[in-house]
Symmetry: C2
Subunit: 352 residues, 2 copies
C-alpha cells in the first residue's frame, strides 16, 4: 500500500486534520504522498519535508504544486501539459469533520474513481449527523442515550432534567458542546451550539459514566479490532484537549475490563460497523451504565486514525486497503430508447 494522505478541508476541524496528518507521518514509516485540501476547495501536493503546521497557517503551501481532480487521480500542471500525480495507490481520507465526514470526499473519490480508505457516502451521512446515528443505532438494535433535537427556529423546552449536554447535530471534536447544569445556562449553551448548526442534540448528562473506545475495521482477512481504551476521566474533552488528542502517536494501555464486557463491546462494535462502514477504519465511543452498553458516538475518521490503539497500525491499514468495497459498474445499454425508437421509426427518436 502506498497511501496518499488527504487532509485539511472546509471544516471546523481543518487544523486538527493538519495535526493528524503530521502525526501519521511520524507513525507510518512508508513513503507518503501528502495532499492538502485548502478551505477554498483547492488541492495541493505538499512535499513530505514541508509537513509542519506553520507551512499551512502561514499560507506557504500556496507555493507548492496545485492539483486538479481527474478521472483516476490528481494532475499537476506541467510545463507544456498536465501530468498525473504519482507515488500512491490509495487515498487515506483524513479530513476530519465537514467535507471529510459529511459525504463530500467520499463522493469525489467515487466520482473520480480513486480508491480510498474512509467512510462511504451513507456511512458518512449517518455518522456525521448525531440524530441519524441514533436512528441507525435503534435500527440495528444498539442502545444510545435518550435525546431530543432542537431546531434553531423552534422552542427550547427540554424533556429532561439538568444536567444536560448540548451538541451541534453535525460536528465532531466537541466544538460547540456544553454541559448545562441549570436552566439559566441553557440559552447561552444553545446559542453557542446554534452558531455551528441549525439543529442541536440535547441529552441527559450522566455524571461519571464509564466510557470505552474501540477502533477497527473489517478486512477480507477478517475483523481487526484495536485495544479497548478507557479514556481519561474528565467531564468531557473540550476542543483544546481533543486537539492534542489528534496528535497522539504513542500506544495506550489496554483498559482493565472484565472479559465478558470486552466481548460485548467488541460484538457491539462489529454490529455498528456492519456493512455500512466497509472501507473505513472507525472508532466507536461507548458508554457503560447499569450493565448496558450504549453507543455514544461513531467517529468514522478518528484523530490520527486512532493509530495509538493498534498493535500493528501499518499492517491494519494495508489489509484494509486490500479490502475496499468494489462499486457496481452500471453501463446503460439504451435498450429502452432503442425499443421505443424502432417502434416509432429510426428518424424521429423521441423528440415528439
Amino acid at each position: 500500500m502506498k497511501p496518499a494522505i488527504l487532509f485539511g478541508g472546509a471544516s471546523y476541524e481543518h487544523e486538527i486534520s493538519i495535526v493528524s496528518a503530521i502525526a501519521l507521518k511520524k507513525v507510518l514509516k512508508t513513503p507518503l504522498t501528502f495532499i492538502f485540501l485548502d478551505a477554498e476547495g483547492g488541492f495541493w501536493h505538499i512535499p513530505a519535508e514541508k509537513m509542519r503546521s506553520n507551512h499551512f497557517s502561514s499560507g506557504d503551501y500556496r507555493k507548492d504544486d496545485p492539483l486538479t481532480l481527474v478521472k483516476g487521480g490528481f494532475e499537476k500542471r506541467g510545463f507544456l501539459k498536465a501530468k498525473p500525480l504519482e507515488g500512491f495507490d490509495t487515498v487515506l481520507n483524513l479530513v476530519h469533520g465537514g467535507q471529510g465526514e459529511d459525504g463530500t470526499i467520499a463522493s469525489l473519490m467515487e466520482f473520480f474513481a480513486i480508491p480510498y480508505i474512509g467512510p462511504r457516502k451513507e456511512a458518512s451521512v449517518i455518522s456525521y449527523n448525531k440524530w441519524l446515528t441514533k436512528l441507525y443505532a435503534e435500527g440495528i438494535g444498539v442502545q444510545t442515550v435518550e435525546y431530543q433535537v432542537l431546531h434553531i427556529d423552534g422552542d427550547r423546552n427540554l424533556d429532561f432534567d439538568f444536567p444536560v449536554i448540548v451538541k451541534p447535530l453535525r460536528l465532531g471534536s466537541s466544538i460547540g458542546v456544553s454541559i448545562v447544569r441549570k436552566r439559566e445556562e441553557l440559552d447561552f449553551a444553545l446559542d453557542v451550539a446554534f452558531e455551528f448548526d441549525d439543529d442541536v442534540l440535547v441529552e441527559p448528562f450522566i455524571e461519571g459514566i464509564e466510557e470505552f473506545n474501540i477502533a477497527g475495521c473489517k478486512t477480507d482477512e477478517g475483523w481487526i479490532l484495536s485495544r479497548i481504551e478507557a479514556p481519561q476521566k474528565k467531564e468531557f474533552l473540550d476542543f483544546d484537549q481533543k486537539y492534542l488528542d489528534f496528535a497522539r502517536t504513542e500506544g495506550v494501555q489496554e483498559a482493565k475490563i472484565d472479559p465478558t464486557l470486552q466481548k460485548d463491546l467488541e460484538e457491539t462494535f462489529e454490529k455498528v460497523y456492519g456493512t455500512l462502514f466497509e472501507g473505513a477504519l472507525i472508532r466507536c465511543d461507548f458508554f457503560f451504565a447499569s450493565g448496558e452498553i450504549l453507543l455514544n458516538e461513531i467517529n468514522p475518521i478518528p484523530g490520527s486514525m486512532a493509530n495509538y490503539l493498534f498493535d500493528d497500525f501499518a499492517g491494519t491499514l494495508s489489509k484494509l486497503a486490500r479490502s475496499l468495497p468494489r462499486p457496481r459498474s452500471i453501463r446503460p445499454d439504451y435498450a429502452y430508447i432503442n425499443r421505443v425508437q424502432s417502434a416509432k421509426g429510426p428518424k424521429t427518436g423521441m423528440q415528439d
Copy 2:
C-alpha cells in the same frame, strides 16, 4: 432563473433521465442549457436542438463539447484556453437514481460551489436507501408499511405471510421489484433484486391499497404543493410503464378526495419535507389504509420533475431557485496552530 438541466449519470435510470430532460424541454419555455453526464463520468454540453434520445443512444453526443467541473461551474475547452460555460445560473439535478440521488451530484455541486435544485447530501442518502427512509419516517412520526431487510449473504426467512413485495434497497423506478405470491416464487424474486443491491427490502403487499402522490417544495415565499394525484390502479408500475411516466408533460386531474384527507396528506408531505429536503422539489407517494396515511416512497427527483402535477410549474421552479439553502462558510483562522506554535517557539512548528 436560467436553468441548466443536468441529466444522464451512472444509474440504472440513465435512460429515463434522458427522457425526463426531453420532457422538460417541452414544458419549460425558457432557454435551457443541457448538460449530459455520461456513464463514464464525462460531462457534455448538448445543444438544445440535439435533445433527442437517439443522440445519446447512438453515442453522437461525443461530438459535442466536453465540459470540466471547475469552481463555480463548468468549462469548455477553448482554442487556446478554457472558457466558462455560460447561459445558466442554477443547475437542475435531473439525474434520476444512482449518482443523482445517492449524494454524489449534491456533493459535486457543493464542492464546486454551483447553485443547484435537488436533494442535498443527507436528503439524498435518506431517500435513496429505503431502510433509511423508514428510520427517518419513524423518527419524525410518519407511518410506513412494516418491513424487513435481507442481506445477500444472510438467511431468507420472512416475517410476513405472502403476498410480499421485494425491492432492491437503493433503487427507484421499480427496477428489480417483484410481487411474490407464494414461497416457490421467493428465491427467484430475491435473486433478481440482489442483482441490483446487496440489500433487499421486503414488505407485505397490500392488495388494492389506495395511493396518493403529492409533489412540492418549500420556498422563501412559503410552501408550494401540487395537485394530489391518485395514480392509475395497476398492481404497480413496472419499469416500462414508469419509463413512459417520465415522459409525461400533460396535466393530471386532481384526485377526488375528502378535504380532511387532503389536508392530512398535505401536512404529512410538509412533515416529510421538513428542513431535510430544502432546495429540492420532491414527490411523496403515500398509501391510505384503515384511515391512516403511510409513506411509501420519497422521490427526491421525480420523473420530469412531476411537472404535470403543478398549475404553474415554471413559476414553482423559479421560486425554488430563489430559495436555495445557503451553506455556512467555514474559514480556518489557524488560531490553535498559532497558539501551539507561539508556545513552542516560531521555528519548530509542530513537527517534533
